[in-house]
Amino acid sequence: MSGAGGSRDLAAEIKAAVGDQNLKGALFHAVSSVNERRRQAIARFPGYERARDAARRIKEAAIADLPALIERFTESVQRQGGRVYRAEDGEEACRMITAIAKDSGARRITKSKSMTSEEIHLNGALEAAGIHVRETDLGEYILQLANDRPSHIVAPIIHMSLDDVRRVFRDNLGMEDVSEEPAELTQLARQKLRADFLAADLGITGANFLLADTGTVVIVENEGNVRMTTQVPPVHVVIAGIEKLLPRAADLLPFLELLPRSATGQLLTSYLSFISGPGWEASPMTGGAARSFHVVLLDNGRMAMRDDELLREALYCIRCGACMTVCPPYQVVGGHVYGGPTYHSGIGAAWEAGVRGLDTAAGFNDLCTTCSRCQDVCPVHIDIPWMNTVIRERIAQRRRRPRGLIERLVYDRVLPTREEGSVSLSRRLFSDPARVYVLSRRRPWSRFMRLGPARAALSRLAGLSAARPLPSPSSETLSAWYRRRGGRVVTTPHEAQRVSNDRRGSTVFLFSDCHTEHVDTDVGKAAVSCLEKCGLGVVLVAGQCCGRAALSQGMLRTASGQAKELQELLAPAVKTGHAVVGIEPSCVSAVVDDHAKLLPGSDAAEVAAGTREVLEFLHARLSGEGGTTNEGGATGEGDATNEGENPAWIPAADGASTPVVLHGHCQQKTLGWLPAAVELLGSIPGVEVRVTSTECCGMAGSFGYKSDYYPISAELGRRLMLELDELAAAAHQAGGVARTCEYLACGTSCRAQIADIGACQARHPVELIDERLSVLSPI
């Protein structure tokens, strides 16, 4: 068992989990199928975005009005003959429920799945009072037999294979010969649990929603164990966090539309219970005992979360588990490693921070790569990556020590930082890619860094994985090349302002992120070329990091400073009506998504609106859906260039068709840019596009370089390679003849991962587009 915060050896847990073939097999199979079912269910639900927005609004209002809702709910339940209790913390809730059980003379309890009860260790408290508790959700029952704990909030034994379950039955039910048929095992458990249901004198459930105006508890399930737990015994106790309250019954609709789809891909689950009181007095099952209904409302840190601007958002969570099943590190190691005592994966850190404190969250928060795949699927639009970033910063603040001597003498000179207090070499390195690239280009540093002993020392000091090759900066930066070619490069706010004012007509400001500037210069050159072929003048904005790297280290001070400086370079262009275009998706996402959060009250939102990812921009431009610049801008000379013009594509060299497999970058998917890229590539004559479904390549910026996390990164990389190779094989087969299939990836990490793990070369799509695009109009 883990979860003791600071005392965890996360690296060892990761190693063990990645080495566990059984876990990997069970988990990956399960998450892949539930993700696919969710994708389909959502694709078939045209009202999805409407429901998401509505649910979000309702949750915001409900949490804002929480104290009043608690009052209203309490009155409603009491009017219907039930009782409501308010527990400050877990201990009090356990005491209350034990007292209810004792007062009603209960000795045997059946219980349905409730993460809230896990949070407060309710079973232990009841058992200690001599009351027998039987978990009745099949997964929870198996965990109870095995003395294990859930690894997912919806599918508690998602980490267990069929053989694992058989072993639990054999070892704990005294069975010699355990069936290999899930159906037979389910029937076996059904019979065992049936006896418990019929003998129970008290039932405990959680709640998915509490309706304040009608005093109704709403519970969503598939197995029917909630039904049995609530219909058979005379006493029903509900344990629920106060965040489950909704103002009115009428508010429930969007949640009914979203929760089953997001959790399991169902339209509705098998059972939806609406319970508002003690129930049916004439029940033949209660042996004449009077029925009673009790709701224990748990605070346990939730009111404090409500007062915390950051953690408040976690209270909107409807516990669908989607953010877990799409989470790349979770998919590899599961919730026991990537999680705290009760809550797992992305949203888990916020919940553990809220109910147990930062130290518990610190035990696993670092596993979030901020890939943002969770943000994309969260039915209530929770910005989980941002929460994890800020939690990371809070953890660092809390552990802040003064800078040591070596830090002041060496690190501060080579890798200075804007953070206060001690900042480890690892965080310095990973938060400043440009400086690392510059250093590793400069001899003798570059030679030295590649020497065995130096590399080993660096690995040890900075936690760099020795298995991961270091990136090789190109000999000339993109901006140096562009200048040499006679292009305009701006690096200061003053220049940015002047050039923005001077430029007339169609100009784009291409923002050269650190990776494109120093390493992937060929991608940058191809982007410049494509933009020019479209008749656009290109101004290169260079030399300023967007802050994304610092952000991923939870270094908000540094990130904000960098964001501000980049904003000063981009804002003049946007304000004069020029488009800003970026290449590396995570850096573009920093500008369009993170900067406004880092710099509240600034122009960042305006700059975000004027900034585009290069493929999405080219797609709009080439399909005549806009993407022109300077339309009615401050310079007032917007010219309607190539509206509706058909791009002239150059035929492939040998006239053959070109199959390509595209792996989308995480932020490119989350921010909705991928479809445009796919469409653009597909519009090139002869190009046949296949797209991977793998969530993330596993490199995620610095994540894949860190020795502790390398096993997860490499495993994700292997999975991506499997899919890439499968899709390539399908392309070959479809073509009948042997055709070489090219791999394309938009992220620099993705391409590095494909090179490191798969020993294959992948290009940025813009390179292929540049090869095939002819000059549309001279500048």
């Binding site: 005093g215 319970i275 004439a282 033949p284």
Partner: protein, 184 residues
């Protein structure tokens, strides 16, 4: 909306069957009794756990089933037998075509036990109670919930689990089969 969206009853049947339920549409009371008798006979039983419902009374189902040698045992008087009977019969207040759902309840009653204890649950659902989509159904449902009918269960297919071996299995704790007779 497509111009040729299917009739709600047909859609209800299609969706419910996709979730593992069975649907028959019958209007003649004799045929209804026959269909229910067939279910009981399929399970090898002569007694059905029963929650009295308007539509069954109206059709005189008790008598019609007696002709098949089948006895309806009301939940309220079933005693210990309630947990033993393999087949049950209840009514339903709504059907939702879009989701293949039957909605039971209003006030607390024997429907709660009858819909979960047995292995096969037969539901009598008036065709007129089938609503096309979830938002429309929810509006009607919410009106009743808010005006004092506070105990309900929405049932969409048989009870199920995919916990063991990540394989879908019907009949987890509740019915393994949900059989809806759409009347009218």
């Amino acid at each position: 909306m497509q111009a040729t969206s299917p009739h709600p009853v047909d859609l209800f049947a299609t969706v419910l069957e996709a979730t593992g339920g069975k649907v028959e549409r019958i209007s003649d009371p004799r045929q209804v009794a026959h269909a229910i008798a067939k279910v009981a006979q399929g399970q090898g039983v002569r007694e059905i756990l029963y929650e009295p419902t308007e539509i069954a009374k109206h059709m005189n189902l008790k008598l019609l089933l007696a002709a098949h040698g089948i006895d309806l045992v009301p939940v309220a008087t079933a005693g210990d037998k309630a947990a033993q009977l393999r087949v049950s019969l209840t009514g339903a207040e709504f059907g939702i075509a879009e989701t293949g759902t039957v909605v039971l309840g209003g006030q607390p009653g024997g429907w709660g036990l009858a819909s979960i204890l047995p292995w096969v649950h037969v539901v009598l659902l008036p065709a007129a109670a089938i609503v096309a989509d979830l938002p429309t159904a929810f509006e009607a449902f919410e009106t009743r919930l808010s005006s004092g009918d506070r105990d309900w269960v929405w049932i969409t297919g048989p009870s199920r689990t995919a916990d063991i071996g990540h394989t879908l299995v019907m009949g987890a704790h509740g019915p393994n089969a949900l059989h809806v007779v759409v009347v009218g």
